[in-house]
């Protein structure tokens, strides 16, 4: 299949792996204290596991799986708000598929649907808008979620709704921002990240410039990375080259998609509809300044938070949950005490077990076979839980 297979070519992968090994041999990092490269985006985490890229890397290089899975980092309180919205008899609550399983403090949207709420899966916010056109007597709420990647499509949909004068459509806005979150990770004292694979599709919208502080202020190298296995390997190679050369720059591996200035039309739509919140709550990381957006006053008529009376309660993460440490690379997923015990994909306690793009769920589902086998030997029931 064109555009996919050419970025999954095993021969190229082998060559890249060889080059990576040569560079890794020049590093001071050891197998015990490996170099830590964070892929921020859940899409990257998924690729790394699906194609078992971690197993191709030398032992003194480790990938740390960042918080870039919008489904995972959704706090329980916001899910409770979704359920409250969906339970209104006049509401058709529309959502992307994988957000339906995220647990709230009492139930997920899937469970709410089983209890009678009208929850419908859509593939795009435009699908939600056309539901609103078809059901003028109902209120269609779209669960807007995601980083800058999905923000433009939500913004354009709301602009269209306003233009058409549709008054039974609103957004429950949970869009989050990338840069403040990376900054929060960089500012935390137990942070051990040596370089970043930056999210390709977020960069497609925001461009290269917003990442420059990472190389300039925090002196960490960064490569904007695509989502195919060869993209990831090439970006790791580029990061290692920077480290070996003692450079700290923003480089763009995904230039076939990411223009350096971003997408100005998309940015304009975002700017028109959304403004930064002073802070937003993240599952696993807590409250981060300016890490979310809300709808501007001009679009208040389309803001479900204003249209409906919502509980808006803050529900704390379970105390024993160590998602925050995993996210910062301080511990690895399988080192968390709850991993595979109380916290499993079918009953996730923490953010990272929620979606298959979360680091813990990825380890649990796809497994690093050696490590899982090691765990199995000490703890047989863990490995059998999914039977």
């Amino acid at each position: 299949m064109k555009f996919v297979d050419e970025f999954r070519d095993p021969v190229h992968a082998k060559n890249l792996t060889k080059q990576i090994k040569l560079l890794a041999a020049q590093l001071s990092a050891s197998d015990k204290q490996p170099l830590q490269l964070m892929e921020f985006c859940g899409g990257h985490t998924h690729t790394i596991f699906r194609h078992s890229i971690g197993q191709l890397l030398p032992r003194n290089i480790e990938t740390v799986h960042g918080p870039g899975c919008p489904v995972c980092v959704l706090p329980m309180g916001r899910v409770d708000d979704c359920v409250a919205l969906a339970t209104h008899p006049e509401v058709i609550f529309t959502t992307f598929g994988d957000a339906m399983r995220v647990p709230g403090s009492k139930k997920s949207l899937l469970q709410a649907r089983a209890d009678g709420a009208d929850v419908r899966m859509v593939y795009s916010p435009l699908d939600a808008l056309s539901l609103a056109r078809k059901n003028p007597e109902r209120e269609v709420v779209f669960f807007a979620i995601g980083f800058e990647t999905t923000m433009p499509s939500t913004a354009l949909t709301v602009q269209q709704a306003k233009q058409e004068g549709i008054n039974n459509f609103s957004l429950f806005c949970n869009h989050i921002t990338t840069v403040p979150t990376i900054k929060a990770i960089l500012d935390s004292p137990d942070m051990r990240i040596d370089g970043f694979l930056a999210p390709g599709h977020v960069s497609m919208v925001v461009g290269e410039q917003p990442f420059e502080f990472i190389s300039q202020v925090y002196k960490k190298p960064l490569v904007i990375t695509g989502f195919e296995p060869l993209d990831i390997l090439q970006s790791i190679y580029m990061l290692l080259q920077q480290i070996v050369d003692k450079r700290c720059e923003v480089e763009n591996q995904y230039y076939r998609v990411v223009p350096s200035q971003g997408n100005t039309v998309a940015l304009k739509a975002i700017q028109d509809v959304f403004e930064l919140r002073s802070f937003f709550e993240w599952r696993g990381l807590g409250s981060i300044d300016h890490s979310g957006v809300k709808m501007r006053e001009d679009y208040a008529a389309f803001d479900a938070e204003k249209k409906f009376d919502l509980p808006l309660l803050k529900i704390a993460d379970p105390k024993s949950c160590q998602c925050g440490e995993v996210l910062k690379g301080a511990i690895r997923p399988w080192e968390c005490k709850q991993f595979g015990q109380a916290c499993r994909p079918e009953t996730p306690m923490g953010a990272l077990m929620v979606s298959t793009e979360g680091a813990c769920a990825a380890y649990y589902n796809f497994g690093d076979v050696d490590r899982l086998l090691e765990r199995r030997d000490v703890d047989t029931p863990t490995a059998e839980v999914s039977a």
Partner: protein, 352 residues
């Protein structure tokens, strides 16, 4: 047995199912005679008794054990590229019998119909069931009809129960996989799941994916008769081939290793999976089986499959290994391995 000519055949003159068609009176009799008895048309059903009756000696001539299975079918939409709920309801139950080594013989057909359902659609579905049954060599010998209020069911649900006979000497069981065995699949995976997602029309994607829905009885008869020992066999329906392989691995206390590069997936199905973030390993099939055979028999089974219309694209997808017990590994194109677990619930499209 004396053939009874259905008394009220040709009397059904409405175009929609009403509650009267399930009420036990003349309207119901019209429906049964005109749609089901006329459509399924066979000596056993035509006696119009409350039960089908079988001659034990002719059953015993086919083998030494009875096999019985039941399944209910609730697909949306009812008609999809490559099939319909009727074809599915016959194929699915026939396949569940056949993968146990049984020769499928008889089916029952229970229908739960939503008030207002189109009689023309019902006739088309019955015709499709009859056609598929003939193809699979089974007869639909008894049935039941219920009509429920509008919105109490989604258009039409069908239950079929099947009876078959296992020839003496045939022993197929999920517990029999041994390290070194070979895993064979009879063709492209994920077609049914992808066709259904596509047929729901929620995606503005133009596609040509057809469901693989088909009865596998004659393919299975061919491979059971080719002189090779089939250790395990199952049709990979909901949950896809990943689920069946996990079932084999757990039942046989072995591991399974499949090769990414050997998996037969059509370009259209792969394309859809890439867009939606779905994995073809978990997509439903309705005409695919996995057979686990000893390595020395693999080529013979493979060639037998390939010479049958339901197995033209048959291929070896993996092997049975000692460890990890109860686990399925996938060898990726880059030479690494990852675990292929069973899903917790339904596969949901990823956000981005």
């Amino acid at each position: 047995m004396k053939k009874v000519v259905p008394f009220r055949q040709g009397k059904l003159n409405v175009d929609k199912i009403t509650l009267a068609h399930g009420a036990g009176g003349k309207a119901m009799q019209d429906l049964i005679d005109d749609v089901f008895v006329a459509g399924f048309d066979n000596a056993n059903l035509n006696t119009l008794e409350d039960q089908a009756r079988f001659d034990l000696s002719s059953l015993a001539a086919n083998g030494d054990r009875l096999a019985m299975t039941t399944d209910s079918y609730v697909v949306d939409p009812l008609f999809f590229p490559g099939g319909d709920i009727g074809k599915l309801a016959v194929s699915g139950t026939v396949n569940d019998l056949a993968v146990g080594g049984a020769k499928p013989l008889y089916l029952s057909c229970g229908m739960i119909i939503e008030e207002g359902f189109s009689i023309e659609s019902l006739r088309n579905i019955v015709t499709s069931m009859k056609h598929t049954a003939d193809q699979a060599g089974v007869t639909i010998v008894t049935g039941d009809t219920k009509v429920v209020h509008k919105n109490a069911a989604d258009k039409l649900f069908i239950n079929t129960t099947g009876i078959g006979v296992i020839p003496s000497g045939v022993e197929v069981a999920a517990t029999q996989a041994c390290s070194g065995d070979v895993i064979i699949c009879n063709g492209y995976i994920g077609d049914h799941g992808a066709a259904i997602v596509d047929a729901r029309g929620e995606l503005a994607i133009e596609n040509t994916i057809e469901s693989d829905c088909q009865p596998l009885a004659s393919l299975i008869e061919a491979i059971l008769g080719c002189g090779s020992d089939i250790h395990c066999m199952r049709d990979a329906t909901r949950g896809g081939i990943a689920t069946v392989l996990n079932e084999f691995a757990q039942a046989s206390r072995v591991g399974m290793r499949i090769f990414d590069s050997a998996l037969p997936v059509r370009a259209e199905v792969r394309g859809m999976c890439e867009i939606l973030g779905l994995d073809p390993l978990y997509l439903a099939n309705e005409g695919k089986l996995l057979a686990i055979v000893a390595p020395q028999n693999a080529e013979q089974v493979l060639q037998t499959m390939k010479s049958h219309p339901s197995g033209l694209d048959a291929t070896i997808i993996g092997e049975v290994i000692n460890k990890p017990v109860g686990r399925v590994l996938l060898k990726t194109g880059f030479g690494g391995e990852r675990i292929v677990d069973t899903l917790i619930g339904e596969q949901l499209p990823r956000i981005c």
